[in-house]
């Protein structure tokens, strides 16, 4: 996913002849990496310039991507690739800096919160040091402010503030051209990411209103209410940008719906994948074979190879007992349980052996 596209086809042809790989320059990576990790060609490297602590469980990483990185639009995310205990992991994070910082200094920031039990977010916080190099993908995502800029209501929760931070900082650098309101829900003030920065922006720009709501302040949790929406002037003319935990997103959806805000005015982006319940070994689920454009249901402990064959597909396979790796393929999402070890995979993109992998919930495969 981080691999770069190379369009020079005669060179690409020669590279394949000489080095037996499509990304021929990457053949030299093991040597280049020793000299300077920023010269790696297989993916775009980015060096950690600075690490800033935001809250007890959130840090901002200031990254300098290699010059060939193509930039981003405020509200987009990137995949970050790190090697932990010898294993490459990729996770998606929103960029939290303004596009101006990128254009002027070649820097971007990621603001990352620890997820309880999360392998990558905890590693980033504890192990990633200034000067280290990580892989960064080109930016993607369509959580973008339209042009010309309309009046906007932002509703953010927790670390869902990150893409919105990028948008507010970018607009602040260029000057606000329409009224903006941010409703930011946090557990308590110590959990508010970039609180001072947001307050400072609001003080300096008349068109920007920031309201930070603490949900755990009193005995009763305080969530988004219709009263919050009623304080927004001309709500009907605003575009709505939502980013936060699923509960907040669902609640906001309902309340806006009740107020008759049309769906196509609501822009949202998730910042965490739905969690799988690993304690119950509830096996089976919907299996999507992306390349064959096929979706089937499975139940019980049938391995993916059998599910694929029952669906009429003929994936490459060999021993059917986990030895020969003929059936290894890419899983793009979903959790599978290894029949031999009983271990569950992560929810993200991964290589699995079809003949010994049993789906646990919905799974998507690149076959």
């Amino acid at each position: 996913m981080l691999a770069r596209q190379n369009h020079t086809s005669p060179l690409q042809w020669l590279g394949r002849q000489l080095f037996n790989r499509d990304d021929a320059v990457a053949f030299f990576d093991p040597l280049l990496e020793r000299i300077n990790p920023m010269w790696v060609q297989e993916y775009t490297p980015a060096r950690v310039q600075r690490i800033i602590r935001d809250t007890a469980d959130t840090q901002t990483f200031v990254l300098k991507p290699a010059r060939r990185w193509q930039g981003f639009a405020a509200g987009q995310h990137v995949n970050i690739c790190v090697e932990i205990d010898g294993v490459r992991h990729q996770r998606t994070f929103s960029l939290s800096s303004s596009t101006t910082l990128w254009h002027e200094q070649g820097l971007v920031t990621l603001t990352i919160k620890r997820l309880p039990g999360g392998r990558v977010t905890n590693w980033l916080q504890d192990q990633l040091n200034t000067g280290a190099v990580v892989g960064i993908s080109e930016a993607f995502g369509d959580f973008l402010i339209p042009e010309p800029v309309p009046p906007i209501l932002f509703i953010a929760g927790g670390s869902g503030i990150t893409p919105i931070l990028s948008q507010l900082k970018t607009m602040a650098a260029q000057g606000f051209r329409a009224p903006m309101t941010l409703l930011y829900f946090v557990q308590d003030h110590s959990h508010a990411i970039a609180r001072e920065h947001l307050m400072d922006l609001a003080a300096r720009h008349d068109l920007l209103t920031v309201k930070i709501v603490t949900t755990q302040g009193s005995s009763e949790p305080r969530y988004l209410t219709d009263a919050d929406l009623s304080t927004i002037t001309d709500l009907s003319s605003r575009e709505i940008f939502l980013c936060g935990p699923q509960g907040l997103m669902a609640l906001a959806g309902e309340l806006l719906d009740a107020r008759g805000v049309s769906r196509d005015k609501i822009h949202s982006t998730y910042f965490s994948a739905p969690q799988t319940d690993l304690s119950s070994q509830n096996l089976g689920g919907k299996v999507r074979f992306a390349r064959s454009n096929l979706e089937v249901d499975s139940t019980g402990d049938a391995p993916l190879l059998e599910i694929a064959e029952a669906a009429g597909l003929t994936p490459q396979h060999g021993c059917r007992m986990g030895i020969c790796h003929q059936c290894s393929c890419r899983k793009t999402s979903g959790t599978v349980v290894n029949r031999l070890t009983g271990q569950a995979s992560g929810p993200g993109e991964d290589t699995i052996q079809l003949c010994i992998s049993v789906p646990q919930g919905p799974v998507s495969l690149n076959i």
């Binding site: 691999a3 394949r16 002849q17 000489l18 037996n20 790989r21 990457a26 053949f27 030299f28 990576d29 093991p30 040597l31 020793r34 297989e42 090697e83 205990d85 010898g86 294993v87 490459r88 992991h89 060999g318 021993c319 007992m321 030895i323 020969c324 790796h325 003929q326 290894s328 393929c329 070890t341 991964d350 290589t351 052996q353």
Partner: protein
């Protein structure tokens, strides 16, 4: 082969699984660091060899360049390519070291190799008639195969096969013996042939056309050095591979033994067959590296997808399991093991009547 009851086979399976699970649980940083180091060594040798080769008009430089390029091909084929394609490093989630996408520096395409080697050879190891690696359909190495006059010259065939080993391996899937017997049609092999010419052509172009022409004034020197490097690789890899299954005590099996009464073979029986049909040889760290740890063929055959550099450290445990179950653990010095291979090739070139008159030690096959 040692006769074992179902209960004993189950116990053998559990004993070996325990070793496997211990290694799997421990995979990480150390393994990644090892394979990265080997890849770096390969790149250094290949780049060094190719850069030095045009200066081969100085005799010592010619020798150094040819040996460096030969070693680079050996390391790439044996310790990187062969092992990566077994899926030994799939868990690292590194696209450059992935079993399904890796393409190695030899005439045989990775896809063909994964079919004939990973699947056929590793599943049907040493089953006469099912494992086409047993004698490569060129050599008669056991009396399961009736003697024919052409076998009397098989020592010459062996020398030729070793000299042109990469082409022999590349054409292995053509199944000439079955074409000859008209069991399959040449037409059914057209897709394979197309693939063979594509990959084999690429290899020949690189070593015998591109690099010599690139250094035109010294083209004959570069051509000679590249031929030399390929020859070094061919002779060494065929020698190592022949020591894996054709030594004196390496056993052969019949289909009847494995699937008698139409039963499918148990994992325990498969383990027993791998232990009895494979043979190790001893040597220094460098010998193991250059043989891609096929000097631990026994360990490789029971655990083909564990990182090969782990074989030395688990060999004591595998040997202990063999001792416990009364299975012969076949090992010896390189000279001794290879000596028995040569004897076996020579002895089976004789008709059974003549061979029976040889003293047992000269036959190269266990009684």
């Amino acid at each position: 082969m040692k006769q074992m009851t179902e209960a004993q086979l189950t116990e053998l399976e559990q004993d070996l699984n325990a070793i496997r699970n211990d290694v799997l649980a421990d995979l990480g940083e150390r393994d990644a660091r090892y394979i990265h180091r080997v890849v770096r060594l390969h790149r250094t040798l290949e780049v060094g060899g190719r850069v030095l080769m045009p200066f081969g008009f100085i005799p010592p430089v010619f020798v150094a360049a040819t040996v460096a390029l030969g070693l680079s091909k050996i390391i790439e084929n044996m310790e990187i390519g062969h092992n990566v394609m077994h899926g030994q490093y799939d868990w690292m989630n590194d696209p450059s070291l992935h079993s399904q996408t890796y393409e190695w520096d030899t005439a045989c395409s990775s896809e063909s190799w994964r079919r004939t080697h990973n699947y056929e050879h590793h599943t049907y190891t040493n089953i006469i008639g099912k494992d086409r690696d047993y004698g490569y359909a060129v050599l008669r190495l056991s009396d399961d195969d009736p003697w024919r006059p052409r076998h009397s010259l098989q020592f010459i065939n062996y020398v030729l096969l070793s000299t042109f080993f990469q082409w022999g391996v590349g054409l292995h899937e053509l199944e000439t013996e079955r074409l000859h017997r008209r069991e399959i049609s040449l037409k059914s092999k057209l897709p394979f042939l197309k693939e063979f010419f594509r990959k084999g052509g690429r290899q020949a172009f690189k070593d015998y056309v591109f690099f010599p022409l690139l250094t035109f004034p010294v083209a004959p020197i570069v051509l000679a050095g590249n031929i030399g490097a390929n020859l070094i690789r061919n002779l060494w890899s065929s020698t190592v591979i022949f020591c894996g299954h054709f030594t004196q005590d390496a056993e052969t099996f019949t289909e009847e033994e494995c699937w008698g009464d139409g039963k499918s073979e148990s994992k325990g029986h498969w383990y027993l067959r791998q232990l009895s049909g494979s043979s190790n040889f001893t040597g220094s760290r460098w010998v193991h590296l250059l043989s891609g740890h096929l000097s631990f063929q026994v360990e490789h055959h029971v655990f083909p997808d564990l990182p090969a550099h782990r074989y030395p450290e688990i060999s004591e445990r595998v040997k202990a399991v063999c001792d416990k179950h009364g299975i012969h653990y076949n090992t010896g010095s390189f000279a001794r093991q290879y000596g028995t291979v040569l004897k076996r090739i020579a002895a089976f070139s004789l008709p059974d009547r003549l061979r029976a008159r040889l003293p047992a030690s000269e036959v190269g096959q266990a009684t």
